[in-house]
């Protein structure tokens, strides 16, 4: 049934987005809290936060790439 393909694409991207959203939210909230506790380490904390967020976002991007390949198959 060709309609199921669109359902599969939407579910793939949606679940990927949920995971990334939860992960990045937790990373950034911890970064903000630790900057509040220790403002002089702000530069290092910011660098680690960007690195962690990019790594977590990669997992959502795997889901997106799979969905794109399904879409253009």
């Amino acid at each position: 049934m060709p309609e199921l393909k669109f359902l599969a694409i939407a579910i793939a991207v949606g679940l990927g987005a949920i995971g990334a959203g939860l992960g990045i939210g937790k990373i950034v909230s911890q970064a903000i809290e630790s900057t509040g506790r220790n403002p002089e380490m702000h530069g290092k904390i910011f660098n680690m936060m960007i690195l962690g967020a990019a790594l977590t976002e990669a997992l959502a991007i795997y889901a997106l790439v799979m969905a794109l390949m399904m879409f253009f198959e």
């Binding site: 660098n47 960007i50 690195l51 990019a54 790594l55 976002e57 990669a58 991007i61 795997y62 997106l64 790439v65 794109l68 390949m69 253009f72």
Partner: protein, 242 residues
């Protein structure tokens, strides 16, 4: 509106196919290599503008790499490749945002084939960079620790648990290739599609914040690739303690 997941083949050089992403990569090389040559040709104590720009770039990158590697000597050994990854990925990502990339092209079978396209929107490029990074990490581990001490991480017969963990480490090395390549490929491709769709929907004013987002993501992906390569190298050359 035209979206293509694969890179389009433009012309052949003696039966070698050349794609539009390859053309962009060559343009990036033609941009960076002469700039670097002229910046280092007559180096002065009080630097001119080009030399100053490169000095700022190299110093900040080296500060980052040295922070992750720990000591200056091993940072100096692995810095050239890490900085090359950063500069190449950054320049090609940002070049893909210039006007004309993805829009100027010719028609083939009623589909627009752009002449230039962002290099990392092609899985071939990112897979090549990822394989290079992972192979260099393995080689640095073997060169620093010796084949047996490095191989003990993957194949150790001390206990069934240790054997299983060794197999997992081996699989994780292969997963690193996939994760490196897909992270970069997915970010750049998704950015291209996002910009295409937004420009298709509302051509004026609204694409501006999305261009800003793409500039940011292009920079962050270059930084993440370099930092991950540095971290994996550090982990490979460090003796494992039990």
């Amino acid at each position: 509106m035209h979206i293509s997941v694969t890179a389009e083949h433009i012309f052949n050089i003696f039966s070698w196919p050349v794609s539009n992403t390859m053309l962009t990569a060559w343009m990036a090389i033609l941009l960076v290599v002469p700039a670097a040559y002229f910046a280092t040709r007559k180096m002065q104590m009080v630097p001119g503008k080009l030399q100053n720009f490169f000095e700022v770039l190299i110093e900040s990158l080296f500060g980052l790499v040295e922070g992750f590697m720990g000591d200056r000597k091993s940072a100096l050994k692995f810095f050239p490749l890490a900085a090359t990854f950063f500069i190449f990925i950054l320049v090609t990502n940002w070049m893909g945002l210039l006007p004309g990339f993805g829009s100027i092209g010719f028609y083939e079978h009623e589909k627009l084939v752009p002449i230039f396209r962002a290099t990392n929107a092609d899985l071939n490029t990112t897979l090549g960079l990822a394989m290079l990074a992972v192979v260099v990490v393995q080689i640095s581990g073997i060169m620093t620790l010796g084949l047996f001490r490095y191989g003990k991480k993957f194949i150790n017969f001390k206990s069934p648990m240790g054997f299983f963990v060794g197999i997992l480490e081996l699989i994780s090395e292969i997963a690193k290739i996939i994760s490196f390549s897909f992270r970069l490929f997915g970010s750049v491709l998704a950015g291209e599609i996002l910009l295409t769709v937004i420009a298709f929907l509302v051509p004026y004013i609204v694409p501006l914040p999305f261009m800003g987002l793409e500039i940011f993501i292009g920079g962050v992906q270059a930084l993440v690739f370099m930092l991950l390569f540095t971290v994996f190298t550090k982990m490979a050359i460090t003796e494992m303690e039990h």
